[in-house]
């Protein structure tokens, strides 16, 4: 039984974390909300002042806004599809008895530890460069024409890079879940004559469903705010072709100094993230009840 003394001690020990996180969350957010109703331009302060909802109207009527929302969704959904399906296949493969499993695991997980700017630059210059990249070498070897990835298919290029970064994470989590599947259950299913496909559909997949949910939710949180990969590869272009919501907000705030509009965009990003967070919390919260 916790005594009164230990209970107040517990509260005292928790305080620094709670206070720090509270301040960190509420202060900047309050500023952003305030700025979203202001005209504020550090370069041209004469017209600064309260403007109601016009920042929201301006930001949302900008054609780049719709494009950026679309790009954000395309990026999130495509990377999720690639990493979850690829992750399941890879996890199934790595779960087989193989020689050198430890090294294979290390090779597969490695991209996750590569910092985003390095990942993006390596893909941009070493792999996808239309002249000196490996893809161009391969295309020329087969007598084809090298593709200008970032000029012609900027979104696809970014999707490939981001999926490469996140595939290891999905694989690792799904593999962990797969390995916790009861061996006896698997054998029993095999004895009952269940083939690989039906074992996968009726036994493995349901067992992994929780891990899949977690992968989707955690990745979504990070994928909604992809930034460095776009910054060092396409810089959002050509035009707005590869601009996502975070990148548009960044452009408005630090390149165009339209702080009001950027803040209105930021508030929208918060709302989007909260919708996702709501589902994420429920999935993680279930674990606490055990």
């Amino acid at each position: 039984m916790a005594t009164q003394q230990t209970r107040s001690l517990a509260r005292f020990m928790m305080a620094p974390s709670v206070v720090l996180l509270f301040v960190w969350m509420i202060v900047p957010l309050a500023f952003t909300l305030w700025f979203s109703f202001q005209q504020y331009n550090p370069l041209n302060p004469i017209r600064d002042g309260f403007v109601g909802f016009s920042n929201y109207a301006l930001f949302y009527s900008n054609p780049a806004f719709l494009q950026s929302i679309l790009n954000t969704l395309i990026l999130v959904v495509s990377v999720l599809l690639i990493t979850v399906i690829g992750g399941i296949l890879l996890a199934l493969l790595l779960d087989q008895p193989i020689w050198g499993q430890g090294i294979v695991r290390i090779l597969v997980i490695s991209p996750f530890f590569v910092m985003p700017p390095v990942a993006a630059l390596v893909w941009k210059n070493m792999i996808m460069h239309p002249q000196y990249g490996v893809f161009a070498d391969i295309a020329r070897f087969f007598g084809g024409q090298p593709i200008d990835w970032f000029g012609q298919y900027p979104m696809l290029a970014i999707i490939i890079i981001v999926a490469w970064q996140w595939l290891p994470f999905a694989t690792l989590i799904l593999l962990t879940s797969l390995q916790s599947l009861d061996g006896e259950q698997k054998e029993a299913a095999e004895m009952d004559g269940a083939g690989f496909i039906s074992r996968f559909i009726y036994l493995t997949l349901p067992h992994m469903s929780r891990a899949i949910t977690v992968v989707i939710l955690i990745q979504t949180i990070f994928l909604l705010s992809v930034y460095a990969e776009i910054l060092v590869t396409t810089n959002g272009g050509p035009g707005y072709a590869s601009t996502n919501l975070p990148f548009l907000v960044y452009q408005k705030a630090l390149l165009e100094f339209k702080i009001g509009q950027a803040s209105a965009g930021g508030i929208l990003a918060v709302i989007l993230a909260n919708i996702v967070a709501f589902f994420a919390m429920r999935a993680v919260g279930k674990n606490l009840d055990k």
Binding site: L21, M115, I173, S263, A280, K286
Partner: protein
Amino acid sequence: MARAVSTQHKTIATAAAWIVALLVFFPILYTIITSFKSEQEAIQGFNLFPSGTTESYTAVEAQSGYFKFFLNSVFLSVGSTILALLVAIPAAWSMAFSPGKWTKDILMWMLSTKMMPAVAVLFPIYLIFRDTGLLDSRIGLMIMLMLINLPIVVWMLYTYFREIPGEILEAARMDGASLWNEIVYVLTPMAVPGIASTMLLNIILAWNEAFWTIRLTTTEAAPLTAFISSFSSPQGLFWAKLSAASTLAIAPILIMGWFSQKQLVRGLTFGAVK
């Protein structure tokens, strides 16, 4: 295992797994290989066998003072992790061992702060940093990284601490151990592995953080993420140098990552997958 695995099956699985693993690892491998080429070699088409020159490494250090960025990365990631641990250990300890009515809600709320998109608060943070003189300062960025990772640190420690059996603590208490003795002699030795894993994962996350570290620094406090971003516009022949710089930027953390892959699952899923 009741059934012997046929050698044929194992051979096919091994071949498939190695091919996939090498494909996934290829961009990193090719970067490392290219870093040992001269600039001329680097643009002469696909070639897996470099001449082994280290001129690119020398050039990278001479040109841009790589080492200073490296030191900043070390300082920021280790510093912010230690700060976070100092704040989080007492919190996680109290939540795991004397949970109250609100413990679960507090944990959930902490997690929710992690989900706030950084870009939404970019400008306010920028202003606060500018007006307090923290822009491009290591201390400012260290605090920032500490705050970003604090929820993960608390959660990871919490999931580890929760697995320490409460009975042991009760037994210690029965034997008349004071709270202080309980923490120092009973709890700490059992908590050290969990704390070490948490530390490892958080150094990695802080090292690779690429939003605030790029936006809030210019020269003095800039870590490797900022250094490497400066390569985004090509300057003449720079493939071998880019490879050398990239290799240097990722090598320490890649090796750390290999040792902490198990913790990754725990840390990033907040204990939801084991």
